[in-house]
Amino acid sequence: MTLAEEVLGGSRRALARAITAVENQAASAPEVLAALFSHTGHAHLLGVTGAPGTGKSSLVNQLALDARKAGKTVAVLAVDPTSPFTGGAILGDRIRMRELAGDSGVFIRSMATRGSLGGLARATADVVKVLDAAGFDYIMIETVGAGQSEVDIARHAQTTIVVEAPGMGDDVQAIKAGILEIADILVVNKADDPRAETTVRALRAMLDLAHPGDAHAVSHHGMLMRVVLNGQDGAPTEANAWRVPVMTTNALSGEGVPEVLTQVVNHRQHLRDTGEMARREMARIINEVDAALRDRLMADLLDRIPNSELETMVARIARRELAPQQAVSVLVAAYSPIT
């Protein structure tokens, strides 16, 4: 039996190994992914992002518990940062997920970013495919503690939850561009904090300032682009646009979490009903092919350029004889794999 067949057969050990192969971009990875790809597309991909310490891991823990109560299986992909200096990482999200231990309907995998800066790891999309093929109903992707611009999750998830904690900044923070814009559901966690109500009000005011309607962005050639609400080409109109709910939770006690899960289900239904699911899927595929092409061409090109040539160019740039753009033109002209 091949590794992919074992994954499809339900072996958790094979699943873990397949993820490792894909994550390491091992020689066997393309074959594994190719064999699994036709079995993907079943899971609902749920992204959970927010600043460090807002309670992402605890919320994922509770969401997974509630999803299990509803009879759904859950895979959790928890991303933590790689040290830029040593390449090592401490992956500590499991600490908050101990209640999920011993449940065969749950699979948790920790992942380091390995130099990627958008809040996820480079191999995230491929690891998600492996988990999807393994048949989980939900795949919950927890990003690194995100600042204001780690918005990659919106490219991968079908529903994105942005978690805020009370007392994090004022209402101007709330209207800045970035992470709040990608939310399909906004959660104010630690709702027992007396400042929670103020935070909820600031977020609701922020949403009211925005043009009503579907605030979600799709990715096009690496740029996040807003969905236009003109009803043309099947795009949603203002009338049937998704309204981002602002919800409060206490992820430690679990209070408010079932309501969040209900909104996740509602959002999935909304994506289906409006055709938005298919449009986002197309955007995601375009983005993925785009990135894969770039990676492949880049690798091919770097393979062809001799190290000595690269070093010569770097030295010339350092002496200000050449601008970096000129050096690139020379190198591409001489070594491009495309003729």
Binding site: R17, N24, G88
Partner: protein, 134 residues
């Protein structure tokens, strides 16, 4: 472009709450470029095995300061074998009397590190063992 990282599970089985040592080790392994999955305190043997399997680790590092190592380590080793994780290296740190070490190694523990162990040495033992396997 294959990128192989050594993955280590650092776990504290049993009931003692002293995780300073485990955190020092986790940090040292991180600084040596490894990916450390840190599970926190009071892990049962089953939780450790489950995490090791899901995370597909190369090494399980156990920290036991409660004196229960002779009860916990053999149970964990049994479950390691039962789960088919025989290729996973298991190392143990803590307050371990010398006379217990041969028995623990007999049970399948690769190395035992006591107080005062040099973290560079621990890193090297892991790296050498993983390299030898490949």
């Amino acid at each position: 472009m294959s990128e192989r990282k050594i993955r280590v599970l650092v776990a504290k089985p049993g009931l003692d709450g002293h995780d300073r040592g485990a955190k020092v080790i986790a940090r040292a392994l991180r600084d040596a470029g490894m990916e450390v999955i840190y599970t926190g305190l009071r892990q049962t043997p089953d939780m450790i095995i489950e995490a090791a399997l899901q995370e597909d680790v190369d090494v399980i590092g156990l920290s036991i300061l409660s004196g229960a190592h002779m009860a916990l380590a053999p149970v964990i080793m049994e479950k390691v074998h039962a789960a088919g994780l025989d290729d996973v290296m298991v190392i143990l740190g803590g307050i371990i009397p010398d006379e217990d070490i041969p028995i623990l190694k007999e049970a399948g523990v690769s190395e035992v590190f006591g107080p005062g162990s040099n973290t560079n040495h621990i890193v090297k033992v892991i790296q050498d063992s993983i390299r030898a396997r490949e």
